[in-house]
């Protein structure tokens, strides 16, 4: 994860590494990717709005994201017992904005989740804002626009 991102290829490598942490169950390492002022957002019902006036599926600051990870590792998070197995496929990567401190990246995803013998496909668009932090890049925000965010969806206790 070290080094300065300079082009789309580096961004892609970062996103793939992030997804590997999730798919391999390395949640503490994943959490470490986020800046202290980061937010992790899954909008509800629609993709764009002010989260102060509209409910979200998740609108975590770093503290709550830490609690989310703590809970998943507590052995008491029944929503993840049995645990989801996931594979994140990421494509259509596009740099939306960039300056010498940060980069905003849009990507499309398909997440296949296996849990309780049922395979479920979640798809949508990620928007990552990455920021340089010392000699590493960190996630300042991650927004997950699920295409089914206005549907009645199932147990989303795994990490997207």
């Amino acid at each position: 994860m070290n080094g300065v991102l300079i082009d789309r290829k580096d961004v892609e490598a970062f996103l793939i590494d992030e997804a590997s942490y999730l798919n391999d169950g390395k949640f503490s390492e994943w959490l470490e990717l986020f800046t202290e002022d980061a937010w992790y957002w899954i909008p509800s019902n629609k993709d764009n709005y002010d989260p102060n006036t509209h409910v979200s599926i998740i609108y975590d600051n770093k503290e709550r994201l830490g609690e989310r990870v703590w809970r998943l590792q507590s052995g008491l998070a029944y929503g993840q017992e049995p645990q989801s197995r996931t594979r994140h496929l990421i494509s259509n990567i596009k740099v939306l904005d960039q300056d010498d401190q940060s980069i905003t990246v849009s990507s499309n995803f398909m997440i296949v989740e296996l849990r309780r013998s049922i395979q479920t496909i979640y798809s949508g668009r990620f928007e990552h804002k990455l920021r340089i932090n010392g000699n590493a890049w960190k996630i300042a925000s991650k927004k997950i626009e699920l295409i089914n965010n206005n549907e009645f969806i199932g147990n989303l206790s795994f990490l997207l």
Binding site: Y49, V55, S56, Y59, R64, R71, Y78, G79, N155, L156
Partner: protein, 392 residues
């Protein structure tokens, strides 16, 4: 008509302190519930804030019946009509919410005003004088009532007034509405989730504090780590009360703040409405083993954006498809129960709801009370369930 399931009589599925597993798994019982319960009592359909302006509408369902709730463009009156074209049955309105003076069926073009009246169709020939256009409007739901902004409808004419139906639950709805200086609004979107289980599991789980310290232990451990204060659940349950308010409604009075919402109580309005935490909860039966749940955060009118934002964050912490509480209920309270219900051999069919029957108290209004680890709420639910399911 005597309703029987094979050799089992429906009235035998609820015993004192126990319910039979078939009430959660039997397809025929589900179909009877749709007719005898959902089409025979008041069901919540919308909040006034969702159809605030003339011409606003919202689509919803009662049982299996798709409906449109509209605010009349001319009179501002509220109408509840079946979302089914009188010609060949297509739904005439597709959106969840919107504003329209007319609903035009896209199949053959029959057009209805937003009070349900048929206003016309393409090619007026082909119907003679025997065709009475006045009788061909969208079918109106016969009873519509509004209590404190909450709109209810009944598909049966033969129900008591809404006020009478809500009965002892009314003052708690009053309380909810008065939590905002200028009232409340349900205008902050909705959490929607689904599970492969029977609808009554979610309704029962709405007032079941007995499970809090077990299923949600990780959540309360988190709160304890943060605040340094560990909840003594044994003591809490002794201080807290659950009340059977009559007509299937029940109430759970909290002892202080559990960290999951703003209201000092959970309230169930039979059959499928709840007031929980900071939310209005609607539980919709889809099939015997499929349920949709909608959580509408209650926003206060007349307070700062920040205060409402804090309510949203607290709500999201416990509730919704990724909330720390809901997901554990989905697994333990619903998925595992549905799985366990498959075990029917050797007399395993019954579920216990008897806890605290030995310490119930009944006051002069007939309100039954026991402590918050007791199953007063489930007993209240099944008393009304049995009454409606066996009503001739």
């Amino acid at each position: 008509m005597k309703l029987t399931m094979g050799t089992v009589n429906i009235s035998d599925l609820v015993r004192e302190g126990a319910v039979h597993g078939d009430v959660y798994t039997d397809e025929a019982i589900f179909q009877i519930e749709m007719r005898k319960i959902f089409e025979n009592t008041w069901v919540y359909v919308a909040h006034e804030s969702e159809i605030a302006n003339s011409g606003d509408y919202k689509t919803t369902v009662i049982g299996s019946n798709p409906l449109i709730v509209t605010r009349d463009s001319d009179t501002d009156e509220i109408h509840v009509v079946l979302n089914r074209c009188r010609h060949r049955a297509a739904t005439v309105c597709q959106q969840e919410q919107g504003n329209a003076n007319y609903f035009r069926c896209a199949y053959h073009g029959w057009t209805y005003s937003n009070n349900g009246d048929l206003t016309g169709m393409p090619f007026q020939d082909g119907y003679d004088e025997k065709f009475d256009r006045c009788k061909m409007g969208l079918i109106k739901v016969p009873r519509v009532g509004v209590y404190q902004g909450f709109i209810f409808a009944s598909l049966s004419e033969d129900v008591p007034s809404l006020e009478e139906h809500l009965g002892h639950a009314r003052k708690y709805i009053d309380y909810v509405v008065n939590t905002g200086p200028d009232g409340i609004a349900l205008n902050a979107g909705v959490h929607k989730y689904s599970f492969d289980g029977n609808w009554k599991l979610q309704v029962e789980n709405t007032i079941d504090p007995y499970h809090l310290s077990v299923t949600h232990r990780s959540f309360f451990n988190l709160i304890a780590n943060k605040t340094g204060k560990k909840i003594n659940f044994s003591k809490m349950h002794k201080n807290e009360k659950i009340r059977d308010l009559g007509n299937g409604h029940s109430l759970y009075e909290l002892d202080g703040d559990l960290g999951i919402g703003a209201l000092p109580f959970n309230l169930i309005i039979f059959p499928n409405l709840g007031f929980v935490g900071s939310q209005v909860r609607v539980t919709r039966p889809i099939s015997v083993n499929k349920t949709h749940v909608s959580l509408y955060p209650i926003m206060l009118k007349g307070v700062s954006v920040e205060e409402n934002a804090n309510r949203l964050r607290k709500h999201e912490g416990f509730y919704g498809p990724a909330g720390f509480g809901t997901v554990d209920d989905l697994e333990v309270g619903f998925d595992r129960v549905m799985e366990g219900l498959n075990a029917k051999a050797n007399g395993a069919e019954w579920l216990e709801i008897s806890r605290g029957m030995n310490r119930e108290e009944i006051d002069e209004d007939g309100i039954i009370t026991a402590t918050s680890s007791d199953e007063v709420s489930a007993r209240a639910l099944y008393k009304e369930w049995r009454r409606l399911m066996t009503k001739e």
